[in-house]
Structure formats: structure tokens, C-alpha cells
């Protein structure tokens, strides 16, 4: 049984609604902007995937602004980190998209919530600094729930009155793909009839600059040059913030309420590198195994895939490892499905990345196109066997493989299919 994807919600650098994100994805228009952190123009981080329509730079929720269409009660705001605000806006949007209302899911023991974020370094820093300023005597009682990894699950479960399942995932850039995978499993095991999956991250000095210190970020000031996965000149990733939410339902549950099926979660797989705390295994063996397992879970051979949504973040080593894994799975068999790396236009949303990528796969299936690689100029060494179209291809993918890789060698792969392409 393959869960149906019946709604998505997006707060992303390429748009805060399904239609604008879909248009930008189709036309390869990026959502990267010039940024300056900590008032220091000398920092080498020049561009990022910024979220528009929100102002959440302050650790004080009273300073925040967000689009009017999202209504968030004051008592909820108090416990949120900035990315929690994004997440609620995305989940509200996904519920509307699925034809559901908040009362439909409240106190429903068959609805579960699967969250992914790294927590809020900015909020944690702020609250701990406040505590240290008074030598530990007092601290904001909401400091923990608005800061630590888990802040999304705590807040969203309470806000939406989730009673089926609530859990959080912390596997860095594979986190929300893990959230999606375990949501799929709980639906397939009959534990739930509906799952809300949400990944979110904020974008600020505290969330992003530590990656510059790992030498993982692009130093380019031109967005087109900064995020160019699989390109010979790629020099690191471009950070991004936002939130992506997906509503999944069992076929029975979707059918019972006459819900529209946008796409099908046909299978997933994971495998670990067992290699490095941060770097991927150079030959991509873990990712290869994850892809094989995902394909097997979906009952599909490599020849069944007509699109790959790559994890490719535009780092030299990461893209090479993924290219090696893709070449082994497809190229060595004489297969060349089109590969797109959407982080060229969205930037890399870390914990958000997997859910966002899955949602973009849904948009490409629904919109009848395969996204391109608009920033690619010269294909990098080791990536030559990949079919990397520059512009979108005007045909709907039927079965898509979507990759995510995180620190510590977490590799998660999802198979997302067009409704008519997946049986069961």
C-alpha cells in the first residue's frame, strides 16, 4: 500500500505558495538573495536562499512579522522559534491544499505529526546569554521549547492538538526525508490513516555561519555562480531557510473523503556510510545502497525511473559522491534518467531539504515537467555520465527518485510516483 500525497505547503526561497514555487521551478528562477550577517561585509558568505514576506531576525516574537494569510495565536508564538513560524504557515497551507481544516485533525488518534529541524541556534544562544547575564539565576521559561531540536514537534503537536503520533528527526540534511520515511511506514503498518510531515529551518548568522567555518559554503557573490550543483566550478553550498509540509493519507482515507491525490509515496530506503562525521563516502556507496533499497521497496527496477531529484548541494565532494552513486545505479546499466538539482534555485535548507525536495517532485509531477539545472555551465569531472538538462523538460515524470544525504553518512532515498504510475 502506497500512501497518497494529498496536500503540500511551502514557505521557501522560491515562493510561499504552491503556484509561485511551481512557476519558479519550471522556469529555473532562483530565490537566492544577497545577505550580510552580523554587520560584517568581510564575511565570505554573500548569498542565501532567503524567505520573503517574513521578518524574523529578532529572538523576540513580538518583533516578528509574517504574511497576513497565516493566523497564529499569541499563546502559540511564545513558544516558537522563527522556523516554527514558517512551519505553521506551511502546515496551514498544506491542510488547505488537501481540503482539510484544523478541526479535522485535532484530537484525531489516526493523525500523526513527523517533524524535522535542527532546532534554533539563534534562540538557544539568546536564551543562554540571558541566563548567563544573571549568573544562572533565571531564564526564560520558554527558552527550552523554543530552542532545542524538537521545538517543531513540541509546538506543532500542541498547536494542532495532534494525538496520533508526534516525533522529530535529527539527521542533519537527511532529517525531513527520515520524517517522511517513517510517516510512510506508520501509514503502511496501519498505525495511522493520515500523517503530516514538515521540515523547517531558519536562516540567520547562528544557523548558517558555522558551515562557513567548516569551509562548506560557497564564497561566490553571484547567486548563479554560487549554487551550481554538478558544475566544474562549484565551491560550496548556499544556505536556505523556510518550511515544507506534506499531507499523506492511506489510500482508503484519501478515497473516503474524496481527496485529490497529487502523487504517491511509492517507497523509501536508507543506508549509512560508516565513513566520516561530515564528509560523504567518496564513491557514494551508502547512497547507492539507499537508492537500491528505495527502488526495491517501491517494486521498481532502475529502468523504471524517468527522473532523479538529486541531493546535490553544490559542494565539490558531495556532488562527486552522488554522481558516482548515480552512475553506478544508472549509467553502468546504460540508463540516463534526467537528473535535476533543485538546490541551484532554492539553496540548501539543511533539515528542510528532503521534505522540500519531495514537495518539488510533487509539483513537477503535477505540473507536467522535469526541472532543469539552470546554473550549470560546465559539467564537473565525474559527473559526465549524468543527463543534466539545463532547462526544464516539458514532460511529466512518472516515477522519481529523490535523494537526501546528511552528516554522519545518513542517506535516505524516496520514490515518488505519479498517481497513475503506482498501483497499490
Amino acid at each position: 500500500m502506497s500512501p497518497r500525497i494529498t496536500g503540500i505547503g511551502l514557505i521557501t526561497p522560491i515562493g510561499n505558495d504552491r503556484k509561485s514555487a511551481q512557476d519558479n521551478l519550471r522556469h529555473g528562477r532562483h530565490g537566492l538573495s544577497h545577505v550580510e550577517f552580523l554587520g560584517n561585509p568581510a564575511l565570505p558568505v554573500k548569498v542565501a536562499g532567503t524567505v520573503k514576506g517574513f521578518s524574523v531576525d529578532s529572538p523576540h516574537w513580538r518583533d516578528w512579522t509574517w504574511p497576513d494569510e497565516c493566523t497564529i495565536p499569541k499563546e502559540v508564538l511564545r513558544g516558537l522559534a522563527p522556523h516554527g513560524l514558517y512551519a505553521i504557515c506551511a502546515v496551514d497551507q498544506a491542510l488547505r491544499d488537501a481540503g482539510l481544516t484544523a478541526p479535522d485533525i485535532a484530537e484525531d488518534p489516526s493523525t500523526g505529526l513527523y517533524c524535522a529541524s535542527a532546532g534554533s541556534a539563534m534562540m538557544l544562544h539568546h536564551h543562554l546569554a540571558q541566563m548567563r547575564a544573571v549568573v544562572g539565576v533565571r531564564g526564560n521559561p520558554m527558552g527550552v521549547v523554543s530552542s532545542i531540536a524538537g521545538t517543531l514537534n513540541f509546538n506543532l503537536a500542541a498547536h494542532y492538538r495532534i494525538t496520533g503520533t508526534v516525533c522529530g528527526f535529527v539527521s542533519a540534511c537527511a532529517s525531513s526525508s527520515h520524517a517522511l520515511g517513517y510517516a510512510i511506514d506508520d501509514l503502511r503498518l496501519g498505525r495511522l490513516r493520515r500523517a503530516i510531515v514538515v521540515g523547517a529551518e531558519e536562516l540567520n548568522a547562528d544557523s548558517l555561519l558555522p558551515f562557513a567555518h567548516m569551509r562548506a559554503l560557497s564564497k561566490q557573490a553571484d547567486p548563479v555562480l554560487a549554487s551550481r550543483p554538478f558544475d566544474a566550478g562549484r565551491d560550496g553550498f548556499v544556505g536556505a531557510g523556510g518550511a515544507a509540509a506534506l499531507i499523506l493519507e492511506t489510500p482508503d482515507a484519501a478515497e473516503a473523503r474524496g481527496a485529490r491525490t497529487m502523487a504517491v509515496a511509492a517507497g523509501w530506503g536508507q543506508a549509512a556510510d560508516g565513513y566520516s562525521v561530515a564528509a560523504p563516502q567518496p564513491d557514494g556507496a551508502g547512497l547507492f545502497l539507499a537508492m537500491e533499497r528505495a527502488a526495491a521497496d517501491a517494486g521498481a527496477g532502475p529502468e523504471s525511473f524517468d527522473h532523479v531529484s538529486a541531493h546535490a548541494t553544490s559542494t565539490p565532494v558531495g556532488d562527486s559522491a552522488e554522481a558516482a552513486a548515480l552512475t553506478r545505479l544508472f549509467g553502468k546499466r546504460g540508463l540516463r534518467p534526467p537528473v535535476s538539482a533543485t538546490k541551484a534555485i532554492t539553496g540548501h535548507g539543511l533539515s528542510l531539504a528532503g521534505a522540500l525536495q519531495a514537495a518539488l517532485c510533487v509539483l513537477s509531477i503535477e505540473g507536467g515537467f522535469i526541472p532543469g539545472n539552470p546554473h550549470l555551465r560546465t559539467i564537473g569531472p565525474g559527473c559526465e555520465d549524468l543527463d543534466l538538462p539545463r532547462a526544464s523538460l516539458p514532460r511529466a515524470p512518472r516515477l522519481v527518485l529523490s535523494n537526501s544525504c546528511g552528516f554522519g553518512g545518513s542517506n535516505v532515498c524516496h520514490v515518488i510516483g505519479a498517481p497513475e504510475a503506482v498501483t497499490g
Binding site: 513580538r62 495565536p73 499563546e75 539565576v137 526564560n140 521559561p141
Partner: protein, 119 residues
């Protein structure tokens, strides 16, 4: 003046309603304890967990939990805020003794009076 609140970091105050800020400024400049009452009442209203609910007529006898919908987390937030702006420490025992706005005002006033001058 019983205390020196100007030394207290209170950036949170800048985001609160103007009458409350005025009352705090008045207290800060004069030490006039009557302002404390106004600040406590405004803080209690501000930190109500269900801000969308209708505000009942507030007086000394208004109860935080029963009348204003406070829960334990909201009480902790309110206490943290008052501790921060007045540079006080309220113990769990102090908080356990607070049921009404009047109790809270009296507790804060008692703590302020007990603070060393200029502390």
C-alpha cells in the same frame, strides 16, 4: 528609590504596550510603588495564555488560573518577566502563594521593599 531598575536589562519592555512602558518609566524615575500595581496588572493581561479570550474586569481579587486562564507555563513566563524587569527572584514558595492579581502585586512589592537600596 528601593531599586535601580535602569541597570536591569529589559529589552522586552520596548515591545509592550505604551501605558505599561510609561508606568515602568515612572517607577524607574520615582520609585513610586503605585506604578508597580499598574505594571503587574498590565503584565498579567499581557501574559495571559489565551489572549483571544475576552478580558474580564480585573481587580485585586481576579484569579490568574480560574479567571484569566493561566496555566503553569504561563505563570512561569509572567514571573520571569517580572523578575527580569525588576531584577527580583521569586521562589517557588512565593509563586505557590500567588492566586490573585492582588497576591502577585503584594509579592512583587514585598520583594522590592526587601531589596537593598541601589541593588
Amino acid at each position: 528609590m528601593a531599586t535601580n531598575p535602569s541597570a536591569v536589562p529589559n529589552t522586552m519592555l520596548a515591545r509592550l504596550p505604551a501605558p505599561m512602558r510609561d508606568a515602568y518609566e515612572h517607577y524607574r524615575l520615582t520609585g513610586d510603588a503605585s506604578s508597580v500595581q499598574e505594571i503587574v496588572v498590565a503584565s498579567v493581561l499581557e501574559y495571559r495564555p489565551k489572549a483571544s479570550a475576552a478580558i474580564p474586569a480585573c481587580g485585586e481579587a481576579t484569579r490568574l488560573i480560574e479567571d484569566l486562564g493561566y496555566d503553569s507555563v504561563a505563570v512561569a513566563e509572567l514571573v520571569f518577566f517580572l523578575e527580569d524587569i525588576f531584577d527580583l527572584t521569586l521562589s517557588n514558595e512565593d509563586i505557590m502563594g500567588v492566586r490573585t492579581i492582588g497576591d502577585l502585586r503584594a509579592c512583587v512589592a514585598r520583594k522590592l521593599a526587601a531589596k537593598p537600596r541601589g541593588a
